[in-house]
Symmetry: C2
């Protein structure tokens, strides 16, 4: 990068999708750490665990028995944060403002094998997960009540995951959540002005700059966004503009699965541990509009900073001010690229 | 509350200060927890610890020796995220947007007693901390380079605090961080429209509703905001509109200290543990403008949810969608009020 200032001095970078800033303090990585260390689970998990409510053939707390599934298994969350038949109401009482919110929450088991994570699965098995996401996006999106479908995964105890069985979640709802709303507005404003995709144009610029690219295949690129918040935050996006995952051909879906495989494997190698993260797909709302301004992308937000046990805490200043990071996006990209 | 729907069904509430929403799922508190448990430190700390770089008379990593301080001690952070003499630069390269950011970061030891927290300090000693905040806000605010002063505390290992010695931090900088910018805009819009303070009017409505008030004295109120995100998030605010902490008389400052004492003591009682949190004061920028639209307030963001060891994780859905909470603000307020 021509501007070495970005590697040496405090600065803030602009997130073009959310309109928010991240504070970058490159010199700060040197400070000593006497704070909390995370525990690493080195326990080898069995392929089937009798006490796991996500394993095949086991009984869940609801009394339902899981089928003897062979690849992916999707069911409605037994403790859903959003419910489909709650009443509609509005609180419009001066400065107290509230609205009912309905939705459907699902759990998606990535594999019957209790011991595996996405990083350890074959690309063709990850492709089956992508296919299930497509089916859910279609089915939920076709529901009149649902205007947005959030697909995500919490991996690892440090990310609040309450069960190590490989699984993700899908929360779908009637309105756009905050983060999606921000990205919707910024992509729309750019599209209306330039008749071109904001993220699509950004990716072209990244592919030329090459500095933050971790991996690419014919259809997908994996990179550290210029404005990344988490130490090793990354983004997977299709090179051609696609508003949602339904626009992927079978070959493209396979290349998407490969990109997921590559980045999760690189993560595991980085600190020689099963790398915790939350990941999520941001894509076009299912609100019946054209949404031509949308370019779908998947992000990984992993908390580890220096080792398998020292994470970045987004606390005090980050909660009250802005997110803050110590290593630059360029350094993080270089480290991950070397592991691909 | 007339509207019992808010206690029974999923809904979202609007944060009037930031313009963002929180998803509330009251029925969800019942789900089982098999996830990560936090460690509680039950170790009794000495009043002076030779190895603590914040204790009086000890040598810090910079080589500086702490004075033999008797109440509050403030110094410039040895690993400051913001520095005052870094160069000014601008990256304006297509969709890569960055700007240099300068500032001053300080550490403020609340007491020489290594074993104490704010909850365990006398009100008159907390009043000395308030006085030090006022002095720092004045001094930093008078610096031409500084346009915003963020005062905060990270308490507890689970909040990324790297040293148990009672202390907070002050990060001051040339531009407004994201969260402050949002609150600035929303307070300004309301003030311009109504010629009245947004938060001031909100507090009047809360004082009438009484449902979310934990404590009040003559000058201050402690409450759970209608839109609280963290399970036991609370806010301390002056009843009269004050744009910053400099507008407090000595008596008011003492009543502020009492409010801090009351809420931190209630927190410690809640789960019978030294309650972790990040707290921060949002107040008028020091940018030379009138800032009449500002009403200062201090917020506490504590992560614990069900016990001393089970916290709320703001992960997957929360990172990609919106913050989500399981217990309502009204229930949280009632539980804390009972402990005052
Ligand atoms: O400054 P400390 O206490 O070393 O560090 C702590 O507070 C900072 C400001 O909120 C955060 O950026 C760090 O992640 C956290 O560990
Ligand atoms: O749904 P789970 O896995 O029980 O719970 C986890 O993910 C949810 C969605 O991100 C969060 O609200 C919870 O705090 C977290 O522990």
């Amino acid at each position: 990068m021509e501007n070495t200032n970005l590697q040496d001095y405090s600065h803030k970078r602009f997130n073009i999708l959310t309109g928010e800033w991240v504070l970058v303090s490159p010199h700060r990585a040197k400070r000593p750490w006497q704070g909390q260390n995370e525990e690493i689970s080195t326990e080898k998990r069995p392929e089937h665990d009798e006490s796991c409510y996500l394993c095949a053939r086991n009984t869940r707390i609801s009394g339902d028995v899981n089928p003897d599934y062979k690849d992916v298994f999707v069911f409605t969350n037994d403790f859903a944060a959003l419910q489909k038949d709650s009443p509609t109401f509005n609180v419009n009482d001066g400065l107290f403002q509230a609205k009912s919110e309905t939705g459907i929450c699902k759990v998606i088991c990535f594999s019957p094998d209790h011991s595996k994570s996405l990083a350890e699965m074959e690309v063709e098995d990850i492709a089956k997960v992508v296919k299930a996401w497509q089916e859910e996006y279609t089915e939920l999106g076709n529901n009149d009540m649902i205007n947005y479908v959030q697909i995500f995964e919490n991996k690892g105890a440090v990310m609040g995951c309450s069960n190590p069985h490989p699984h993700g979640q899908i929360w779908s709802q009637s309105t756009l959540p905050n983060e999606v709303d921000k990205k919707d507005k910024h992509q729309k404003a750019y599209f209306d002005k330039n008749n071109s995709s904001l993220l699509g144009d950004y990716l072209q610029q990244e592919l030329k700059a090459k500095e933050r690219i971790i991996f690419e295949n014919e259809d997908f690129v994996v990179l550290i966004p210029f404005w990344a918040v988490w130490p090793f935050e990354s983004m997977i996006a299709p090179k051609k503009v696609k508003k949602n995952i339904l626009e992927l051909s079978d070959v493209e879906a396979k290349n998407y699965a490969e990109a997921i495989s590559v980045i999760t494997k690189a993560y595991d190698k980085l600190f020689n541990t099963s790398f915790p993260y939350s990941s999520g797909i941001h894509q076009a709302p299912t609100n019946g509009e054209a949404n031509e301004h949308w370019h779908f992308h998947m992000s990984f937000y992993p908390p580890l900073l220096r080792s398998a046990t020292v994470k970045k805490f987004m606390v005090g200043y980050e909660m009250f001010g802005s997110p803050q990071r110590d290593i630059t996006a360029e350094i993080a990209a270089k480290r991950l690229k070397d592991l691909v």
